[in-house]
Symmetry: C2
Subunit: 200 residues, 2 copies
């Protein structure tokens, strides 16, 4: 009976817990925040959730998320259509775009190959990438999946798949993060940083 009286709060806490990286305490804190929202704010929040789900889908070309048919990057005529940067998820696109350095297009895989979690290559947008390489004039594919075990494996898988196509395939560099400290850099990263050293 006691719990019945707070059921709406528990339901909301449960929903917050479904978000990545949100534990029991944070979920409860967020639910309490919502209680302190004005009615208008709560309504706006609920509507934002539904709108994000209904209005956002994947770009028909690069699979990045967008509210239009083509994403803003694919429909930007100033971008270099000869280079495709392959990333795991839309967040990586945001991160690379923030550098304001890259002028090519993207291809979003929406995941990495992970036998442990049952994610086989056919569950990623690899087929769509191959189709693009057949229909678009692409000179280079940059594999920018994360430098994790799964990201590396996915990059290697795609590199192998693309090797017969005669397209230049590259992988982003590993190394010591700028502003980082050698003392706190793990051995593998440090070894990669040494291997990837460049002449001055």
């Amino acid at each position: 009976m006691a719990s019945e009286r707070l059921e709406p709060l528990e339901r909301l806490t449960d929903m917050f817990r479904r978000l990545d990286g949100v534990g029991k305490k944070s979920a409860m804190r967020y639910a309490f925040c919502v209680l302190n929202f004005t009615d208008d704010e709560a309504k706006a929040f609920a509507e934002a959730i539904l709108a994000a789900k209904s209005d956002i889908h994947q770009c028909s070309r690069c699979q990045n998320i967008t509210a239009g048919e083509l994403c803003p990057i694919c429909s930007d005529e100033r971008r270099d259509t000869g280079v495709i940067c392959v990333v795991e998820d839309p967040r990586a696109v945001f991160a690379i775009e923030k550098t304001r350095q890259y002028g090519g297009l993207y291809h979003v895989l929406h995941g990495t190959i992970s036998p442990a979690r049952g994610i086989t290559p056919d569950r990623l947008k690899i087929r769509e990438l191959l189709t693009r390489l057949q229909t678009e004039e692409v000179s280079e594919v940059i594999l920018a999946t994360n430098p994790t075990v799964e990201g590396e494996a996915t990059a290697m898988y795609i590199a192998k798949l693309l090797s017969p196509l005669g397209i230049q395939v590259s992988r982003i560099a590993n190394g010591v993060p700028v502003g980082g400290d050698l003392e706190f850099t793990d051995e593998v990263t440090l070894r990669r940083a040494m291997e990837g050293r460049y002449l001055l």
Copy 2:
């Protein structure tokens, strides 16, 4: 134009940022999670927000949050109605209830006195506490506001207010947290722990 295409996502990110302790990066991560929700999950989330806002209000007796007229604690006949534990917010009630040690009632202030943030005593549920002390038979009031500057000030304010009523007023103890380390305990806490030492 570019931003227009992702407007629903930005609106959702903005809503997440209004939650306590959620920065730009977390808000975006949460928004992306919502995109990965099923339609049913997104609908359940939106409904949970609206339901929490519309169904949960304050207990007419102790001001704790509840979906009923009286909260589960106030309507539990086994509780000791002679003791009232005064706390800042409903989360403190949850925390104390988890100890399974306290059998009395609560009174939720919904904040602390904070001249800096313009929160004067009349904005807290202090008037409601005084009314309870006049109409209920209370022998002790435990002041369990947080051990922060504002929590202490609020406790002291209420203690002074209650002193003419001839009710026993107590304050929760300060000290070294169980499982804590003296080395990492701040001086003020350590001094309080020494002052509050008890004979074995």
